[in-house]
Subunit: 249 residues, 2 copies
């Protein structure tokens, strides 16, 4: 059973096959069984399968082919809109339009997403998370008609895999796990903990392709550069304000 | 695995029994197999078992008894500290000290937490998420020695269950799932989608105990009130700034 978790790989190529409705429904039911703050379920899941819509989402997600190929696109959202409406109809005033509840709802939406992911993989389906969701939040809000109080947190594409990639490497467990308290890293620790990763054939090939001195430079100078990080940070904060999540602050 | 997901309940009472080291290690290994942004693994997991430390954490987590009782306390953190150090030793300048990467790392830490949770439940252990982590971030940072660049995102206690609570209710699946695009709720929808929840015996008992008119008022007027929401929002934003996550904004 744990095997599903240990065998997880992100799938970026899908067969042109649809997912059975009953299976999809079980994946969604698995999503909502996850823990959530106060059992308030401040999230929504948008299930997009329409070809025109998928094409629009594909454009937003930096035109990654898997978005078009996958059978279903699941957009997991933080959602205080439904809860607000319920409160207002219940003769009381909600006050969840602030950063604390964006954060709580983000965690809850992510727990739901990971439950859906594992359920999908149990059905031998492939999945891939799309980090572009926060980058392009404004576009996605407009494509999916998300009202005020709703923010796209993350997206998971689900489909029938058309590839079996190698398991991705991870840092050794002692790199991310601390016992009792946080033990800060010495220079020597950092070097030792990244050695295996840096020595992979895959890494060496990447460095050659990217013409950098080392792996870290690929992240800082090619993939996630300062200009983009600052731009998308500011864009996302703007969206949070527009969607009514940063009141009274 | 699907059964494990469908049978999830939060456990708030634990037996005085420790978790086998090998099982704990598998739970942690499951955590780090989850998807994460760019495979940069910008999270850390603090495993606390020391009794003195547990007591300090118990105090921070609003003195919920399960924190003392559970065998292990796992604090999942967003962590750019390790990555920063690696970049600096690799002759390059990181720029992840901003909101975008706090958000990415928060999602990644939560995916790791949910993997750990499901793995623990596969071993018939009990778990409970602690939402108090964000409320008391500043205290937790000081107890666990979290350096700049590290923020506690969520906490999961793990132990041998000493209760078998009923499955918690959820809204009907159509309350949280939207097909194709977001379909905003009419008054009638809101009423219908909350009817089952409002009619539960459990809900009626809660309303009686809390002396409110209805369930929504318990959330807004008793459990998560405006004053606290605003206070903890501001506290958490202050912590994010202090820990170096809101630069250039």
């Amino acid at each position: 059973m744990l095997e599903t978790i240990f065998n997880h790989r992100s799938i970026r190529k899908y067969k042109n096959e649809t997912i059975d409705d009953e299976i999809l429904n079980n994946i969604l039911k698995a999503a909502i069984r996850g823990s959530n703050t106060g059992n308030m379920q401040m999230y929504s899941i948008i299930v997009s399968r329409d070809e025109t819509l998928k094409k629009q989402l594909w454009e937003s997600h930096f035109k990654q082919d898997m978005v078009n190929q996958a059978s279903v696109i699941l957009t997991f959202c933080a959602d205080i809109n439904r809860f607000n409406k319920w409160c207002e109809q219940s003769n009381t005033k909600p006050s969840y339009d602030n950063f604390l509840w964006l954060y709580n709802a983000t965690i809850d939406a992510t727990i739901a997403a990971q439950n859906a992911t594992i359920a999908a993989e149990e059905y031998k389906l492939g999945i891939c998370y799309l980090g572009t969701t926060t980058y392009m939040a404004s576009k996605i809000i407009s494509i999916l008609d998300l009202p005020k109080g709703v923010i796209p947190v993350t997206t998971v594409v689900v489909g029938v895999p058309d590839q079996t990639p190698e398991l991705t490497d991870r840092l050794p467990i002692e790199a991310v796990v601390h016992y009792e308290k946080y033990k800060n890293y010495t220079k020597e620790d950092i070097k030792k903990l990244h050695q295996e990763k840096e020595n992979l054939e895959f890494t060496k090939k990447l460095i050659e392709e990217n013409k950098t001195e080392n792996l870290a430079q690929i992240f800082t100078e090619k993939r996630y550069v300062k200009k983009d990080n600052l731009f998308f940070s500011q864009e996302f904060l703007k969206v949070l304000k527009e969607q009514g999540f940063m009141n009274n602050y």
